[in-house]
């Protein structure tokens, strides 16, 4: 039974977003980590990088495949999670908390409306 926390927003490409003020924390969903299986490598953008919504911003590699991660929002990267770079297995064990990827400053609040609600994302993954 895949976990889809109600307080987060989601994208079709399986990223989740937690918004606090104008800061958005981003990671990949429980469904995504389950599909990828054992994550062995995570590559994150540099702090300070300007991302556009939909732009490829990170890479996750499992034993069998590599996956691009797309920024759900436009904004500047404030911080990236070094813990997940050092210990990629966190993506599998704790995708919504310790397995977070990056924080960015939301440049355009209107974009938040384009994100999926938990029930919409849950419906999409079936």
């Amino acid at each position: 039974m895949t976990n889809v926390p109600a307080d987060l927003r989601y994208t079709k490409s399986h990223e989740w977003v937690r918004v606090l003020g104008d800061t958005a924390t981003i990671g990949i969903t429980d469904h995504a980590q389950h599909e990828l299986t054992d994550v062995v490598y995570v590559e994150l953008p540099a702090a300070g990088r300007q991302l556009k919504a939909g732009e490829s911003c990170a890479v996750v590699e499992s034993v069998k495949t590599a996956s691009d991660i797309y920024s759900p929002l436009t904004g500047e990267v404030l911080e990236v999670n070094q813990a997940v770079v050092a210990n990629p297995a966190l993506v599998n064990s704790d995708p919504y908390a310790d397995g977070w990827f990056l924080k960015l400053r939301v440049a355009n609040a209107a974009e938040l409306q384009t994100l999926l609600q938990a029930d919409q994302y849950a419906a999409q993954i079936g």
Binding site: E43, V59, E61, V63, K64, A66
Partner: protein
């Protein structure tokens, strides 16, 4: 329209265990049950069970069988006493590898070949062609029994401790052991199992101690269930093709279609030990002898990443390291090593760059990630 994928007789068992299934060589097979890393480590530390029923079985019998096989395969079949097997290669006339396989002597004038699933059709066609050209062909019979047999591999340091409980009793054929756990590397025995006969061989593809069991299709499910049942208390886990690949890559065993193909010779692959040049004529002998004398154009090497990087993968380019990189070759197998926690792989480079300790770079998503050529095997069991 996509032809339907084939399923082994253990398919229902895989579904019950919640296996994630993938396509492999035309078969629908489990890639993992829980996690590739977990299954890999189970084999290294305890025990793992693999369905290898998709592999092929060819029986070669008759008074001319030994000579036919010795003139067709690269290794010396005359070394096979009853109950012994050997790793060997089937080559074409140019010395290119048609398949790597195991040949077992089951009884006087009775041989069993275990061949790769993806090569069953090609191997059987080539073997029939060679048999048609064999002067004593009336004295040898070849039978493709792949659709009649299933097989499983049970591998890991704890296996020898429970194999007798699974398959009790003394050998009824093959190596005359009093119990299965007495089989030494490459030995095989016929054992009774619930009124049927199974073949138990001390062989494997993981670098661990263990056995491979061949049984008729209608017996293999009971064999699998018995191993799971008894092995559970010893930490046995079902393991899929994902772990099978990481395990064999760590010990540098080749995989047909990656390190071996029809355009690669056993010498280039580093398997010259399994080519018995002195035994007399065999398919590919002349071409291989010529290559042995003049030298190979490419060499299979093992490498290890020297820093944190994404895993190296098949088809990635191998470059020289330093200021002006030169293209050296290609990765044929690569993965993150679950045992060593670093990227590892196999690939082909020109012989000048094949020496261990040679620094190289693997091109991963446009970046040259540093690596080094290492001796084989990459992973060795800690003493």
């Amino acid at each position: 329209m996509q032809p339907k994928l084939r399923r082994t007789h253990l398919f229902a068992a895989h579904q019950r265990l919640g296996a994630r299934l993938i396509e492999f060589g035309g078969w629908e097979m489990p890639v993992q049950y829980s996690s590739i890393l977990e299954e890999h480590l189970a084999v290294r530390n305890a025990a793992g069970l693999f369905d290898i029923s998709h592999m092929g079985e060819v029986l070669v019998t008759g008074p001319g069988a030994e000579r036919f096989l010795n003139q067709t395969l690269t290794n010396d079949v005359r070394k096979l006493v009853v109950g012994l097997g050997q790793y060997t290669l089937l080559c074409n006339e140019a010395g290119g590898v048609m398949d790597d396989l195991y040949a077992y002597c089951l009884a006087e004038s009775e041989y069993l070949l275990i061949i790769n699933a993806s090569r069953i059709q090609a191997d059987v066609a080539w073997l029939r062609e060679r048999l048609a050209a064999f002067p004593e062909r009336a004295r040898a019979t070849l039978q493709d029994a792949s659709d009649s047999f299933g097989a499983v591999a049970v591998q890991g340091p704890r296996v020898r401790g429970f194999i007798d409980c699974c398959f009790p009793g003394a050998a009824t054929g093959g190596t005359p052991v009093a119990k299965a756990s007495e089989l030494r590397k490459n030995q095989l025995a016929h054992l009774g199992f619930g009124g049927d006969t199974i073949l138990v061989a001390c062989t494997g593809y993981t670098g661990e101690d263990g056995f491979e069991v061949v049984a008729r299709d209608d017996v293999i499910v009971a064999v699998w269930e018995r191993l799971l049942e008894v092995g559970a208390t010893h930490g046995l886990k079902p393991c899929g093709l994902g772990a099978r690949d990481t395990l064999r890559t760590e010990v540098c065993y080749p995989l047909y279609g990656h390190e071996l193909d029809e355009n690669t010779t056993p010498l280039e692959a580093g398997l010259g030990f399994f080519v018995a040049f002195d035994k007399g004529e065999f398919t590919g002998h002349a071409a291989l002898a010529e290559q042995k004398a003049s030298g190979v154009a490419k060499r299979c090497v093992a490498f290890k990443m020297t820093g944190r990087s994404a895993p190296p993968r098949t088809h990635y380019t191998i470059w020289s390291s330093g200021a002006s990189p030169v293209r050296l070759g290609t990765v044929t197998s690569g993965t993150q090593s679950p045992s060593l926690r670093i990227g590892i792989g196999l690939g082909y480079v020109s012989p000048e760059f094949a020496r261990p300790d040679t620094p190289v770079a693997i091109e991963i998503r446009g970046q040259h990630a540093p690596a080094v050529i290492v001796p084989k095997p990459i992973y060795r069991k800690p003493v």
